[in-house]
């Protein structure tokens, strides 16, 4: 910035905007690749529940891009990374060993899982409004995010329980372990509910409109038909 005064600053501003936009999109694409390859990895291991998770996350990622036919309308990279995080924690080679050696490792994975479940819930509220007639206001959407997180964790637990019975495995552990999972799910769900409420407020209007989907909650011109 030492050569200030040379050339029109306005063009520089635009170029900065373009690079930051490109950078953001690239980060998002890279994150989606991480998500994609983790899903493929779980599919190769026939890890059904996690494949379902990955496919759902990928669908939510791809939908806005395909619908707008614009690769720049990809999800924000931070959300995509949040979606990929629990899969990475799950498939990381040392996960089993860490689970045994670090008492808080399972707590960490279930918290990360809650974060990404809440993210999926949040994206659902947003994308349902784009692609269907459903309309929610902010309080209801936040309520939905928290309920969704808890419910999916619940159905997930039941699924693992059935899996444990059918294949005679022991993923769930003791009652205490499962309940602690749910405690972290509740914490994660509520925290992310609040975070997304603030996130929508804090995201600059320009970025919200550029991503074209996060302004849906503030649609003011919509009236019930």
């Amino acid at each position: 910035m030492d050569s200030a005064g040379h050339g029109p600053t306005r063009r520089k501003g635009i170029r900065n905007l373009l690079t930051s936009r490109l950078l953001e999109a690239e980060l998002s694409w890279i994150s989606s690749l991480i998500l994609f390859f983790s899903t493929v990895y779980t599919a190769l291991n026939i890890d059904i529940l996690w494949v379902a998770f990955g496919v759902t996350a990928l669908t939510l990622y791809v939908l806005p891009v395909v619908a707008n036919r614009d690769p720049f309308k990809a999800l924000p990279w931070e959300m995509t990374l949040l979606l990929a995080a629990p899969m990475l924690l799950h498939i990381s080679a040392g996960s089993e060993r860490l689970n045994e050696n670090l008492t808080w490792w399972r707590d960490l994975t279930s918290l990360a899982f809650a974060f990404s479940l809440a993210t999926i819930g949040f994206l659902l509220t947003v994308e349902l409004q784009i692609f269907t007639a459903i309309r929610m206001n902010r309080p209801f959407a936040i309520f939905f995010v928290v309920m969704f997180t808890l419910a999916v964790a619940g159905f997930w637990g039941v699924g693992e329980f059935i899996g444990d019975k059918v294949w005679n495995t022991d993923y769930l552990g003791s009652n205490y372990d499962v309940m602690m999972d749910f405690v972290w799910t509740l914490v994660g769900g509520v925290v992310m509910g609040i975070v997304y409420y603030l996130y929508l407020k804090a995201t600059p209007k320009g970025r919200r409109e550029r991503l074209e989907f996060m302004h849906m909650w503030e649609a003011t011109n919509w009236r019930k038909g």
């Binding site: 349902l128 269907t132 007639a133 459903i134 309309r135 929610m136 206001n137 209801f140 939905f144 928290v146 309920m147 969704f148 997180t149 808890l150 419910a151 999916v152 964790a153 619940g154 159905f155 637990g157 039941v158 329980f161 059935i162 769930l172 552990g173 003791s174 009652n175 499962v178 309940m179 749910f182 405690v183 799910t185 509740l186 919509w222 009236r223 019930k224 038909g225």
Partner: protein
């Protein structure tokens, strides 16, 4: 049919009263609080009808009494300990109750909140989600009670997970029943029959009165 359900509800309420009295007289107090609280809860619909002019469907009323009665009866008769699966039956019943009440609340929200529109199909999904989430919260409540007060509400992991399995089933069943209901009547007719409109006006009036004081 409706008369018969009302009669059955009354009979079960009478039985709970008898259980409470008998427990009190014979000094078997373990299930007396549960019986008394259950009786009070079964009277809430009548209070709602009297004060807010809100009329819950007879079937739902019956369902409420049945769930509480089976809970109290199972405790007194020892069925909770002796009949395998009794706790899951009562759990599924109360889960379906939560689902039904959630269904009515969400329908009302859909009708009265201007910025919210929830199509019928989404309502079903939401009820299933809502019921399962409440089930998880319920198990967490039991868990923390066990931790803090040393009570013994949760037996084994299998028991907890079966409870949650029934939560899921109950939620999906109620979602299906609700969709069936709505295919016969419209949302507005359904809510009007219960007097939700009048109840809302009454609530607004009561709140206004409180505020102006």
């Amino acid at each position: 049919m409706e008369e018969r359900l009302k009669l059955l509800s009354r009979a079960m309420q009478a039985a709970m009263l008898a259980i409470a009295l008998a427990g009190f007289l014979t000094d078997n107090l373990t299930w007396v609080p549960a019986a008394v609280v259950s009786l009070i809860i079964t009277e809430i619909p009548s209070i709602l009808r009297r004060d807010l002019k809100l009329v819950l469907p007879v079937e739902l009323n019956f369902w409420i009494v049945l769930a509480l009665f089976l809970h109290v009866f199972g405790g007194v008769s020892g069925f909770y300990d002796n009949v395998p699966g009794w706790d899951h039956v009562t759990h599924a019943l109360s889960a379906s109750l939560i689902a039904a009440l959630g269904f009515i609340v969400v329908l009302s929200i859909d009708k009265y909140v201007k910025s919210i529109f929830l199509p019928r199909r989404f309502l079903g999904v939401f009820i299933a989600i809502f019921t399962m989430a409440t089930g998880v919260l319920w198990e967490l409540m039991e868990f923390s009670m066990d931790m803090w007060t040393g009570s013994h509400m949760q037996y084994t992991l299998d028991d907890t997970m079966l409870d949650m399995l029934f939560d899921g089933v109950a939620g999906i069943a109620v979602a299906a029943v609700g969709a069936h209901y709505l295919s016969h009547t419209t949302r507005d007719e359904f809510l009007e029959k219960m007097g939700v409109d009048k109840a809302k006006d009454n609530i607004v009036r009561i709140v206004d009165k409180r505020r102006s004081k």
